[in-house]
């Protein structure tokens, strides 16, 4: 069996499960781990051991117990997350409240209609309803946009997220910020001052893993040169050294077919 230099892989399983390997050793060990069901079992077992370590505090020490309010706070936070992750929810709320307005407007108009004639009141009601529907749509769109922004913001602010810059030459200078969430193996890309791409073409993101480009998402910038892509899977189980962007056919390429436009290192912290 071969493995990382010096230590045999079996010897590393315990330290790996404890999170005690250096980043380099951990990457090397993970490469081995992917190929060895036996090592996977070992790591799994050692993780169970690690999970029990928390219970090993001394008995004589001052007592401390779970605060009674914590359960409610945990559930409240989860409920909050659930509400935020359902974009339909705020929209439903919007239409409920606007239904109240429609009803109110209708009853007012009906009251007026008693004097001025129901026909014209009905026409007005229809106009108000149309107007309300238009505003309602606009409001729903705004709410949706806000929800999306909030989701982006909170995912960028999560602990362990690092930002990397992909840069280029050119005037004005385009740029890309790549937010890498290592825990979730996901990235968000925010591009700005990107030149428009011809029809049928798109920008394509590449991760440079173990020295070779791994194709990722394609995207087209907005009219103002901005671009935002979320939930990009980041390849696992190798050494990522950089991310780069090229222009490719809209469906994406397996290998870059044009020179690199933007590039930046993904240094391990």
């Amino acid at each position: 069996m071969t493995g990382p230099a010096q230590d045999s892989p079996q010897d590393l399983a315990a330290a790996y499960a404890l999170g005690a390997l250096s980043a380099d050793d951990a990457r090397r060990f993970e490469a081995f781990l992917a190929t060895s069901p036996e090592a996977q079992r070992e790591v799994q077992e050692y993780r169970e051991v690690a999970a029990l370590l928390a219970l090993g505090g001394p008995e004589s020490a001052a007592q401390s117990s779970l605060p009674p309010s914590l359960r409610e706070r945990v559930l409240a936070r989860v409920a909050d997350q659930k509400a935020r992750s359902l974009p339909a929810a705020p929209r439903a709320a919007v239409s409920r409240s606007s239904a109240v307005w429609v009803a109110l407007a209708a009853s007012l108009l009906l009251a007026v209609g008693l004097g001025a004639g129901l026909v014209s009141a009905r026409a007005k009601l229809a106009a108000v309803e149309t107007e309300l529907a238009t505003r309602n749509t606009a409001l729903a769109q705004t709410t949706q946009k806000l929800t999306e922004r909030e989701a982006t913001l909170s995912s960028i602010l999560e602990p362990g997220v690092q930002m990397f810059q992909l840069t280029s030459s050119g005037d004005p200078e385009p740029g890309i910020q790549l937010f890498w969430n290592r825990q979730r193996h996901e990235a968000i890309v925010h591009g700005f001052r990107l030149k428009p791409v011809p029809a049928g073409k798109a920008y394509q993101l590449w991760f440079i893993k173990d020295g070779a480009p791994v194709p990722s998402v394609t995207f087209r910038p907005e009219a103002d040169g901005d671009a935002k892509v979320q939930g990009i899977p980041v390849p696992e189980g190798g050494s990522l050294s950089a991310a780069a962007v090229t222009v490719e056919p809209e469906g994406g390429s397996a290998q870059p077919t044009t020179p690199v436009l933007l590039v930046g290192p993904l240094k391990q912290s």
Binding site: A15, A20, S22, Q44, E48, A50, L52, G57, P159
Partner: protein, 201 residues
Amino acid sequence: MPDAASRPSPGADGDLVARAAQGDERAIGSLYDRYGAVLYAVAYRIVGQRADAEEVVLEAFSQAWREAPRFEAGRGSVAGWLTMIARSRALDLVRARSRRDRITASAAADRPDTPPAMGEFRPDPGRALDTDERQRQVRQALETLSPPQRQAIELAYFEGLSQSEIAARLQEPLGTVKTRVRLGMQKLRECLRPFYFERGT
């Protein structure tokens, strides 16, 4: 605590995660009832403060809620998964705190080198099934280690130090530290195998 009638009948750990993945937040409540105390213990031992430990437990369960759809039942126990999440969040918090402390130069001088190494945690009796028994076994298992083995393992797990960092901290050769971690963990594994948390499947 909600009354028993409003709570669904408890299932296996893995089923609870599956229900959370489908959007049933009550499953998180059940997981909390089972493992909240364990997570709090991990968090407290790492961060050494109640308020921070509570925040870690909150964060850990929110993360578990988000990641429940990706939980792989074949890859270990739910408790192990939850504990790992809590440990990472706790270490993040300690690191963020030490970054903050470095920025606030005055605070740096007051900060002890080592966070409180021995937790003062005792789980609520009767809250989690078996916790007392497990706790006894874990303590006994830890007693079988040599003090340096135990120290190396605790520095790795509770302070998030790599083996090289432990060697530097203790001014011992790296090889010595590696051996301590390996032999100590082997011994713990032998002692604790019957007491692992319930499997995810």
